[in-house]
Symmetry: C2
Subunit: 355 residues, 2 copies
């Protein structure tokens, strides 16, 4: 692991402190709201704004200082907005985006019913309002030797007509290599496991399995990548082995996960970004990017939710899609090729670290 630790030397503070925001906060007067220690909406917005800045700065640094485009947008009628940051066609990153969004509005009764019946939420009497905020990112490097990374961390809060609040966190991070270096898989999963273990030793094994299950391209019988962690519906539950005791500790867990993004990924980019590659290897990357598109458009819950959300900003949702993708009829790889080695792991996920 020393090579990875060394690679982070370019940004020795990556773990210590977040950078300032990349634009004005979405909620006006966030600073005032933050003085209330129980305002977890404000805390989340502050956290994701700082995480966005930290991650964008690290990505810029490894991409020879290339600047991200920063677009701030607001939704009408005080329903929030977002800060989308994108880099495209750059030296190291072919397309990468790190978005935050902070949305509030009325919860459709149909959605409230679904949350109750399918996810066991106890929302209190309707009509309900909701608050949803999160950071999400997909990073597609140009060099096929560098994996694509995705992560997102989000907070959801529903307020009932009698003032009852129901809240939960969700999120995760996963890696999609085109040519797998075993040590990258071990590094990525080890950082995630360490971040989880500091909060709950049961998290990593459960969230790792949830990730393998989630990123399944069912019609291909293969996963999108080599996984990571995925969790949802994380709320306070002192009686459960797989929850934390209160909102403070749950928020701290999510904060630490977001803070671990640079440590999971940046060292891998540094280690692989200058490797030579052939046209065939680039073509394989484009074919796998086609599979990425298949997953995101056919299965990804976040994308599907975004596409049916009124006044959603499609350009922000689709930063997840690669700049280029390719679909060849009956493209096949030899079992004993590097491409074939990857396919074995996509069909049969591996345990990367001992649990």
């Amino acid at each position: 692991m020393d090579a990875y630790a060394d690679a982070l030397a370019f940004d020795p503070d990556y773990k210590k402190e977040f950078a300032p925001y990349l634009g004005d906060s979405i909620t006006p007067d966030l600073e005032t709201l933050l003085q209330d220690p129980e305002d977890y909406r404000a805390k989340m917005e502050d956290m994701i704004m700082k995480a966005q800045a930290t991650i964008v700065n690290a990505l810029s640094a490894v991409d020879n200082g290339a600047k991200f485009t920063v677009d701030r947008y607001e939704r009408p009628n005080g329903q929030g907005g977002g800060l989308t940051t994108v880099i495209q066609d750059s030296d190291v990153f072919e397309k990468a985006g790190v978005n935050i969004s902070v949305i509030r509005g009325d919860l459709k009764p149909q959605l409230a019913t679904q949350m109750t019946s399918q996810r066991g939420k106890k929302l209190g009497p309707g009509p309900h309002t909701f608050f949803a905020s999160g950071i999400s990112s997909v990073i597609h490097p140009r060099n096929p030797m560098v994996p694509t990374m995705h992560f997102n961390y989000r907070y959801f809060e529903v307020t009932a007509s009698d003032g009852t609040k129901t809240w939960w966190y969700g999120g995760g991070a996963d890696l999609t290599p085109y040519y797998l270096e075993e040590s990258d898989g071990v590094h990525f999963h080890t950082v995630l496991k360490d971040s989880c273990d500091a909060h709950n030793r049961g998290f990593y094994p459960a969230f790792k399995k949830a990730c393998d299950d989630y990123f399944m391209i069912t019609h291909r019988k293969e996963r999108r990548g080599i996984g990571g962690v995925v969790f949802d519906d994380l709320a306070a539950n002192p009686a459960s082995d797989l929850h934390l005791k209160d909102q403070a500790s749950t928020f701290k867990f999510v904060t630490d996960m977001a803070a671990s993004v640079n440590a999971t990924y940046i060292p891998i980019v540094i280690a692989r970004k200058d490797l030579k590659y052939t046209e065939q290897e680039r073509e394989w990357q484009l074919i796998r990017r086609g599979r990425y598109v298949e997953f995101n458009l056919v299965y990804d819950r976040g994308t599907k939710f975004g596409l049916v959300t009124p006044q959603a900003r499609i350009e922000s949702i689709f930063i997840s899609l690669p700049l280029n993708a390719r679909w060849e009829y009956k493209h096949e790889v030899a079992d004993d090729s590097r491409e074939g080695e990857l396919m074995k792991i996509l069909r049969e996920p591996r345990e990367w670290v001992e649990t």
Copy 2:
């Protein structure tokens, strides 16, 4: 229209007679079955096999004689199969496929219920078996001045436990230009209208509107292309203005529509395939191909049905996806550019022929 008529001179028989099959029929002993004048399963299989050959031969001819790959596959337990024909990375066609499939099996009770409740089918008592056959095709040329074409014609038959048969036809054809030549739109729609008018003067206006409605990329507020015709649930109904009187006349209509494919499209390919284009124009084509992928993976009923069908042949379903596609963040076109002109029509469909 003379230029288009002349262009068809390379294949003077395109309307008269279908070519022989490109492979063995899917159903054994099809020739024997065809002797029964009431066997519309056999008639459909024969028709689509011949249409496939006719269209593939025409596409090969305009692509300097390039050969299609022909893959025949069978589903286990006598559940049918298909004949997939594909050309990829050729001079004129970047990726094109013309598939036929002939499938039989048990109809899932859930699907039978949906057909009854959502589509008003009277299927008789279950359990039901089904027979589904069809020809479907997407043709993506390399030159951005040549539009992409899609068509499919299909037959569905459900048999109840008491022997009751319920049947219907569906299908359509639509054109997706990247740079629109008005005369191509007029030609394409005129051929479709003429083919419809020969059977029912109400078909074209109704099916043209259904096509504009169907190929909507809702999240983009734009259509996939400039339309054509779409119809579904076409069964015998002497009392309806929008149906034909019996199965013989309905089958004849579908046969004529399939027979019109070459006339709608081949002249356009011939007229545009040698036009010069710039790298920017190629990039615009790739971005529009990204939208094609979005439509097919997010909305297209045929694709979605295929992806959840057990033992579906994914490679055959995904011949519809382009060889290359591109997603740029916030790509914008000027209203007065050729790209902008196309966008206006994708947002607000046009009447191409007088009805």
